[in-house]
């Protein structure tokens, strides 16, 4: 009661611009069996103005195990009168995949074509799952600028099918009804939140309930996530079919020197890279089961499971055991919750225990060096699959000692401020990942990509080339030659040169002042040695003192010295991996501003009179 009063009395206490308001929302999960779940959802949302139009759109997905059996979208005008009813046929079903993918997923979108604001949309939908190994989380306020008056989750299930639950910011009450457990969660009066924090930080703060089945059945395959070990065993059960290799492949393996394990791994990895490509055909349980190895060799393609299984089988034939690793892949993916065994994965790769360490193979890449996994799967919780003992471990971390970008540049400066720059850049560690763009992107993308690297006001890239000396080494070099007019600014008889004519330190930090976060996802070492050939008869009054910074966030050093008629600028920036919000953000900002002050300094060249 009090809460409602508050809302009425203080309408202007806008916690954020409210573009839509969920008036009521109830989601009921009825788990009848492992192959029968009904999800009934009904909600009513008010769209305040045109700016909130997108909140009125209904959208949900279907696939082989998930069907929308019923959906209606009713529209009510400001007086409460129902003006329209939209059904499935009024919507659009879209299944659009990239050229290398086929799956049976589709999205149904029903968008009301009504714009007499404010109006209300009421959605009633029923979804049926005939097999599931994960359940969508319940998040009553999933988006910015959306207020929620009331939202309820009801979970009905027999005791044996009680899912694993994680409650964040909300507590449920459980009763027993008709022999089934019934748990109810409710939230009320959630204000709209402005888009002034990072989505990830917003998401973490949201009240929510995560649900994951402890045992499940997909098609005819029974599995369990009671523990990681159980889930790992299920995955293995789908991917342990006996294999048959092509005679040529077997011959190749037999011809190798059994003693040199590392060499065998490398040669087989390259063999696979040269004869397969990534194609993802995921229909039905194909989402969890690989295309058999014979088909991979027959068609010359496969998805991540098929290619990884193929590699695993070849190694097995060579007498080398290896392990599947399940991961949530992507350069910037959210981490897997280690204490919530459930299917949180979207990719698989291979680990090969060696005498002293482990080698890893990314089997979907035709160009990756052996044992290089890069930013796709680094530094996160992954599931190491081993019969009876699958468990979460931390994947390989590429740290600031390995991720090195080192540049040697020569700048020839003219008296009018124009310059020619020659840069030689060496990329190691996760900086090596960039080669994927150069090797596979179309020419116009590469041109634009290179142009975006330079912030000079007016420049022309005269020459660009890149080179990887050894297919197996995760390091490559780039060379640029560019003309930049006005690199130094002429003022009277002076020339003003940027103190650090190199990639600004800011480019290695991801952050936002309004959202108050700063992130160095991967530690990095950035070294620059810049030699500036000054124009004849120009000199510098005084060079700045050497700068050094040593902080918990990283280290920095900058020196500018003469070497005959050349100015030599050396910069070394080391950034430690970190994610900084709230107080830590304020502390990081101090470090950031120090670097900003240093790097924004200019050098003034004077003409000798």
């Amino acid at each position: 009661m009090t809460k409602i009063l508050l809302l009425i009395l203080l309408p202007s206490l806008a916690f954020g611009q409210e573009l839509a308001r969920v008036l009521s929302h109830q989601t009921t999960f009825t788990i009848r069996s492992k192959e029968d779940v009904k999800i009934e959802e009904t909600y009513r949302i008010r769209i305040n103005s045109e700016k909130g139009r997108m909140y009125g759109t209904y959208q949900d997905y279907t696939d082989q195990f998930r069907k929308i059996t019923d959906v209606t979208v009713d529209i009510f005008d400001a007086s409460g009168k129902k003006v329209k009813r939209l059904k499935r046929g009024d919507g659009l079903e879209i299944g659009f995949n990239p050229s290398y993918e086929i799956n049976d997923g589709k999205i149904l979108i029903i968008r009301p074509d009504y714009q007499n604001y404010p109006f209300e949309v009421e959605v009633n939908s029923t979804i049926v799952l005939n097999g599931y190994n994960h359940l969508d989380p319940w998040i009553p306020r999933p988006m910015f600028n959306m207020a929620v008056d009331q939202s309820k989750l009801v979970l009905i299930r027999p005791k044996e099918l009680d899912p694993r639950l994680r409650e964040v910011g909300v507590k449920g009450t459980t009763i027993t009804e008709k022999g089934m457990l019934k748990t109810t969660y409710e939230v009320t009066a959630l204000p709209a939140i402005e888009r002034k924090l990072r989505y990830r930080d917003f998401y973490d703060e949201q009240p929510k309930v995560l649900m994951s089945p402890v045992t499940f059945k997909l098609d005819n395959s029974e599995g369990s996530t009671s523990t990681w070990a159980a889930f790992g065993d299920w995955f293995l059960s789908l991917n342990s079919a006996p294999y048959k290799l092509d005679p040529k492949t077997m011959e190749l393996i037999q011809s190798m020197d059994k003693a040199d394990k590392a060499m065998i791994i490398r040669r087989l990895y390259e063999y696979m890279q040269d004869k397969t490509r990534y194609v993802s055909i995921q229909l039905g349980i194909g989402g969890f089961q690989s295309l058999p190895t014979e088909d991979v060799e027959k068609y010359g393609y496969g998805d991540c499971k098929a290619l990884t299984t193929y590699m695993k089988n070849m190694l097995d034939f060579a007498g080398i055991p290896s392990n599947y690793i399940l991961v949530r892949a992507g350069n910037d993916a959210a981490d897997v919750m280690a204490d919530f065994p459930s299917n949180q994965f979207n990719h698989v790769y291979l680990g090969i225990p060696m005498a002293r360490d482990t080698m890893y193979l990314e089997c979907t890449s035709q160009i990756s060096p052996t044992n290089f996994t890069g930013t796709f799967t680094d530094d996160r919780n992954v599931l190491w699959i081993d019969k009876g003992k699958s468990d979460i471990m931390r994947s390989r971390v590429y740290n600031h000692r390995q991720n090195i970008k080192s540049t040697k540049s020569e700048i020839k400066l003219e008296p009018d401020g124009d310059a020619n720059l020659s840069l030689d850049v060496t990329n190691e560690g996760t900086f090596f990942d960039e080669i994927m763009i150069y090797k596979s992107a179309p020419g116009d993308y590469v041109t634009e990509y290179n142009q975006r690297k330079f912030d000079y006001g007016n420049f022309t890239i005269k020459n660009f080339s890149y080179k990887q000396d050894d297919r197996n080494e995760a390091t490559f070099k780039i060379s640029y030659n560019l003309d930049a007019t006005g690199l130094a600014k002429a003022a009277g008889t002076r020339l003003v040169l940027p103190g650090v004519p190199a990639t600004p330190f800011k480019k290695f930090i991801d952050g936002d002042d309004l959202m108050r976060y700063a992130s160095v996802r991967r530690g990095a070492t950035v070294e620059d040695e810049i030699v500036v050939q000054m124009p004849q008869n120009y000199w510098i009054y005084s060079l700045p003192e050497k700068e050094t910074i040593d902080s918990p966030f990283g280290t920095y050093s900058l020196s500018s010295e003469f070497d005959g008629d050349k100015l030599v600028i050396k910069r070394k920036l080391v950034l430690y991996k970190g994610d900084y919000t709230q107080k830590a953000f304020d502390d990081f900002k101090v470090f950031y501003q120090k670097l900003e002050r240093i790097e924004s300094r200019k050098l003034v060249l004077n003409a000798k009179t």
Partner: protein
């Protein structure tokens, strides 16, 4: 139109007696040379090359056959073993991969598991084929056929095409015409056959409305089906015919003639003693407040127009603007619809009349000596005159009986922006600026779009502007004025410009410009293949007044200058002057034409380069 054709074919409505195809395009067996090829001589960077692409329309069967041979040269080209095809009717595919194994050619045919039909959106299907065993060096042959002519024929693709040939036999039954896009040469072998050799890969460039305008290809439009006198459907053979079809259509001409729901307002407003312009404004506001654009670009209204206007208040661009035409006419103001193709839909080619390519309608008033466009789909634009940016694509066709008149879609509106910066410099290396930015014309429209993208929230906008301008510190940001009725806006910022102030051993060096749109050259590539489209003319003025710190006077000022491209289509004047303790700058950049040819590119690029350099030039102050 092609879907209509497909429907007709499927309903078995038309087929003349299906004679077995007598001619087949020759597609020889793959050769050892083709398999041994390790790079494409004309383009060493190509990841794959189409060795031949042959298309053949059998005039009797009305069946189209295509054979394509793709050579994979590097790992980057492996994806060319996966192809998607959009056929107008059901397609019949065959895919074979050839590889060299121990010096011998081994060919494998794709089985049904590798050929998929995918429903992209309801009713629209594409075929996806995955050629088996594609490796570096493989040659992939794809052949398919379908009824009806193809929707388009690309002589150019994202990879080079060594040989492309299209043959379209005459058919009595089906008449269609084609529109030729792109700049690469195509050889006309005969009336029915065209080919090209060594076509370079298509490369996109910035500042073009859509790449589809420039890729070298034919687009096909149906002119008629059947023979005159018997089941004859005619589509669009001339623009006059297009005009007639639209005027006769219940959901185009019908809207203009009917729409009784507008009568009350028309009657009431028509008799008011206000000027014609004021009446147009009233009609514009009335339509805008009763129907908001739902994001759809169409040429025809829907059957639910009356309900859309009165109840749902939501409609497509055609519905909104046809209603406007109708309303104005009811008020005795002469107005006509003007149809066009939007920027993303590609150019309309005047000598290829087609209804298919039209996807938008605006209203045009032609009353006594008043001529203006009216488009009520933009909520932030309260006064008529401008068409939305998406419509700025060449000329539009007026739909007026017995007429064929084309009109340029921009009646003199520019991207107008005025900056005024007042800077005070204080002791201790501090420089503060107050920046006012005024927007008008398309400058105003762009500004409102950017504000919308930032939720119209001053904090979000300030943050975004700060990220884009890191040499200065934005301390305050405010939207001072936003006037939909005059389509003008103003924002005020308080800046700390100390970062642009350097102490040079007693003298001060200061760069006075901030947040100027041409601090960097927008044209980054050295060469250019296609014309540059800047969308609309530009008018950018900057005035700066600097209050010098006590004890300082000007030592050097950058010289005044006037820059211009050879034809005067872009001009820049820069004036700097000092008097007493103030320094003033007055800079005007005008771009009067928005389309620049490839041969004018170098001059335009150099122009912007010089502007960028000039704007970044600092001033020197010395202690007095």
């Amino acid at each position: 139109m092609m879907k209509l054709l497909a429907g007709i074919f499927c309903a078995g409505l038309l087929l003349p007696c299906a004679v077995l195809a007598q001619k087949r395009v020759s597609f020889e067996k793959v050769t050892l040379e083709e398999l041994q090829m390790s790079s494409y001589a004309n383009d060493s960077s190509a990841g794959a090359v189409i060795l031949m692409d042959l298309g053949y329309l059998n005039g009797n069967e009305l069946k189209f056959y295509r054979k394509m041979r793709i050579k994979i040269l590097t790992k980057a080209g492996l994806d060319w073993g996966n192809r998607s095809f959009n056929t107008p009717t059901k397609g019949d595919f065959r895919v074979v991969t050839h590889n060299l194994v121990d010096g011998k050619i081994v060919s494998e045919k794709a089985d049904s598991k590798s050929i998929h039909e995918e429903e992209v959106i309801e009713g629209i299907e594409i075929y996806k084929v995955f050629a088996p065993n594609v490796k570096v060096g493989s040659v992939v042959d794809i052949t398919y056929s379908h009824f009806g002519p193809p929707l388009e024929w690309r002589f150019q693709e994202r990879i080079p095409i060594a040989y492309s040939e299209l043959t379209l036999e005459d058919t009595d039954f089906l008449k269609f015409n084609k529109t030729h896009f792109g700049l690469q040469p195509i050889e006309t072998v005969s009336r029915n056959q065209w080919r090209s050799k060594n076509m370079p890969a298509f490369i996109t460039e910035p500042f073009i409305s859509t790449y589809a305008n420039y890729i070298t290809k034919f687009e096909f439009q149906l002119e008629s089906i059947g023979t005159p006198g018997r089941n004859y459907y005619e589509f669009s053979t001339t623009w006059r015919r297009v005009v007639d079809i639209l005027l006769d259509h219940p959901r185009f001409g019908g809207v203009i003639k009917g729409s009784a729901f507008l009568n009350d307002f028309a009657k009431e407003t028509k008799v008011k003693s206000i000027s014609v312009k004021e009446k147009i404004q009233a009609a514009y506001t009335y339509v805008q407040s009763n129907m908001k654009w739902n994001g759809r670009n169409t040429i025809l209204a829907t059957a639910g127009l009356r309900n859309n206007f009165l109840v749902d208040h939501s409609g497509s661009s055609a519905e909104i603007n046809l209603v406007l035409v109708c309303l104005l006419n009811k008020m005795d103001i002469t107005a006509y619809p003007v149809v066009l193709s939007t920027r993303e839909n590609g150019f309309l080619v005047p000598f290829s009349p087609t209804i298919d390519k039209l996807d938008y309608v605006v209203c045009m008033v032609q009353h006594e000596d008043l001529t203006m466009f009216v488009d009520a789909t933009m909520p932030d634009v309260g006064a008529p005159g401008m068409v939305p940016v998406r419509c700025l694509n060449g000329n539009g066709l007026m739909i007026k009986k017995d007429n064929e008149q084309w009109f340029g879609l921009n009646k003199g509106y520019n991207d107008v922006k005025k900056q005024f910066i007042s800077i005070t410099m204080e002791k201790g290396g501090v420089a503060r600026g107050k920046l006012t930015q005024d927007y008008a014309g398309y400058g105003y429209i762009n500004w409102t779009e950017e504000l919308k993208a930032s939720n119209n929230d001053a904090d979000i906008i300030k943050n975004k502007l700060q990220k884009e301008n890191q040499d200065i510190k934005i301390e305050k940001y405010e939207i001072a004025k936003r006037d939909a009725n005059t389509s003008t806006g103003k924002e005020v910022l308080e800046l700390d410009m100390s970062g642009q102030l350097i102490d040079a051993g007693g003298d001060l060096i200061f760069t006075p410009f901030a947040m100027h749109d041409y601090l960097s050259n927008p044209l980054k590539s050295e060469t250019r293949k296609y014309p540059v489209d800047l969308t609309y003319p530009r008018d950018l003025q900057t005035t700066i007044v600097i209050q010098l710190p006590k004890e300082y006077a000007v030592k050097t000022l950058p010289e005044g200058t006037k820059l211009s491209t050879p034809d005067g289509g872009a001009t820049f004047t820069y004036l700097a002057s000092a008097s007493g303790s103030t320094v003033q700058f007055r800079v005007v950049l005008k771009i009067t034409k928005h389309i620049w040819t490839e041969s004018e590119y170098a001059d335009l690029r150099m122009f912007f380069g010089e502007v960028s350099k000039k704007i970044s030039a600092p001033i020197e102050l010395a202690k007095t």
